[in-house]
Amino acid sequence: MRRFSWFNATALTLGFVFLYLPMVILVIYSFNASKLVTVWAGFSTRWYGELMRNEAFLDAALVTLKVGIVSSTLATVLGTMGAYVMIRAGRFTGRTLFSGMIYAPLVMPEVITGLSLLLLFIGIGLDRGIVTIILAHTTFSMCYVSVVVSSRLVSFDRSLEEAALDLGASPFEAFRLVTLPIIAPAVISGWLLAFTLSLDDLVIASFTAGPSSTTLPIKIFSAVRLGVSPEINALSTIMISIVTVGVISASLVSKRAAVKRQEEERAAVRT
């Protein structure tokens, strides 16, 4: 029994104003002509131009993208394997330790993950740089991938895999031809999640980055520590728009896929 009252409407309106107003203000002020961030001096795209000419930011953006793509791909492979082990491999020695290790990074404070990985890299004498950031990001984001993929693995019908095995497929073929296509949406969202986490991460990257491998969040953080800057407003606006377009189009695509599947199911019932 649902009744949408004026109280519900107010709560939703105020809630979404609170969630979105700060970002809207940020976007508006990125088009401010004045260097003084709190004084509105007319519309201008000046800061976008300055941002494009700022090589340090462009370099950092490139490092961030490289780290993001490599680490999220590694994390997706490892995380999917981890999820498969958790749900399908049955009992093996050290399973408790394994499940502990796969969920612990989710609740581990970033400062501790960063510190411990840095101490490891120093201990084994690995120079800090892009490789160490990739290793660190892969480790913490593979756990998020595992969670996403295992929730999909739990819910799917195991007899499909068994049927493939009975019909003579090798376990690897059964995985590639049956399991993988079914869990593919979860694997893709796992990759996207890992990629976003990597692009977003400041703390772990600060611990594991070397002087030659500054990522975008590190750059942003050191710039905004001193106060609000119009260039960062412009950069934030670009990042917010990419995410917004991405999330909206992803949800449209998945909605279309769902509609199509329903139609196919209906057609299958009719025939």
């Binding site: 519900n8 940020l26 709190t38 510190l115 400041l202 917010i240």
Partner: protein
């Protein structure tokens, strides 16, 4: 054989990059600060054979942990982190519950859009969302300008660089973590229970208090842990929105490591933080398990 490889690859990766690093932190927490590279002692010297190993373990002690208890910076930082995390979790619950409730009451065709509006901030950079408040809360910021022009205040309020700004930052960034589990619990609620309550003479408000609210308890508990656990070790929010008087343990650890370069103390701070976190994490796991069993 294939099964072995499948298990071994992620297993070894986690051992190497999760468990071993943590053991190193534990070891360094028990070592002493030393002016050398790396800046701690003792080092494990395997060339000395058995004697080296014995000396190594003999030199480990709990000095750094005693140091943490004697210098009041640390226990004050732990207490103030706990306080900030608790209060902001409570405010997030107060703000998040009506939103989740509104979502659950909304017409079906709105729901996908409402869900997307709650999830969208998840995908937006955390750093940028925290940063967006700096321009609003500063002394010449938009909030002060608005209040001054409305004549509500005649002196700018000092909000940025205080604990108030930290509360606002935590509530803002973690709000989706609170809304989603509460919404999930409310959505599953069987509407006929409310009808029954009202047929038996409950007013709408008392039906809410006696039926809806208790049945959304597990969602609230999950949401509170999802906010409290990360808020406790938070670094970005206190360092951007908080001031020099804002003591949070994540910030202390960072400064101990990067500014003072005292690795053993930084490691000891990390170990104690983790010990504090074990309690809420175990409670959270229990809540989730009970929830899963109830769903079955």
């Amino acid at each position: 054989m294939r099964r072995l490889i499948l298990i071994a690859v992620p297993y070894l990766w986690l051992l190497a990059f999760f468990l071993v690093p943590f053991l190193i932190v534990l070891k360094i927490a028990l070592s002493d600060y030393n002016l050398s590279i790396p800046p701690y002692a003792p080092q494990l010297d395997l060339s000395q054979g058995w004697q080296g190993i014995k000396d190594f373990f003999g030199d480990l002690d709990f000095e750094n942990f005693t140091f943490l208890t004697t210098d009041d910076l640390y226990w004050k930082a732990y207490l103030s982190s706990l306080k900030i995390a608790l209060i902001s979790t409570f405010i997030t619950l107060l703000v998040g519950y009506p939103i989740a409730y509104g979502m659950a009451q909304a017409p079906d065709e709105w729901r996908p859009t409402l869900m997307m509006l709650v999830i969208l901030p998840f995908w937006t950079s955390f750093l940028i969302r925290v940063y967006s408040w700096m321009g609003i809360l500063s002394n010449e910021g938009l909030l002060n300008k608005l209040l001054l022009s409305l004549g509500i205040i005649d002196q700018p309020l000092i909000i940025l660089s205080t604990n108030t700004a930290v509360y606002i930052g935590i509530v803002y960034t973690y709000l989706p973590f609170m809304i989603l589990p509460i919404y999930a619990a409310l959505e599953k609620l069987d509407g006929s229970l409310l009808e029954a309550a009202e047929d038996l003479g409950c007013s709408r408000l008392s039906a809410f208090w006696l039926v809806t609210f208790p049945l959304s308890r597990s969602g609230m508990v999950a949401g509170c842990f999802l906010v409290f656990i990360p808020a406790l070790g938070e670094f970005v929010i206190p360092s951007l929105l908080g001031g020099s008087s804002t003591l949070m343990i994540g910030k202390v650890l960072w400064e101990e490591f990067f500014s003072n370069r005292d690795w053993p103390v930084a490691s000891a701070v990390a170990v104690v933080l983790l010990l504090i976190l074990v309690i809420p994490i175990v409670l959270f796991q229990r809540n989730q398990q009970r929830q899963q069993e109830a769903d079955r």
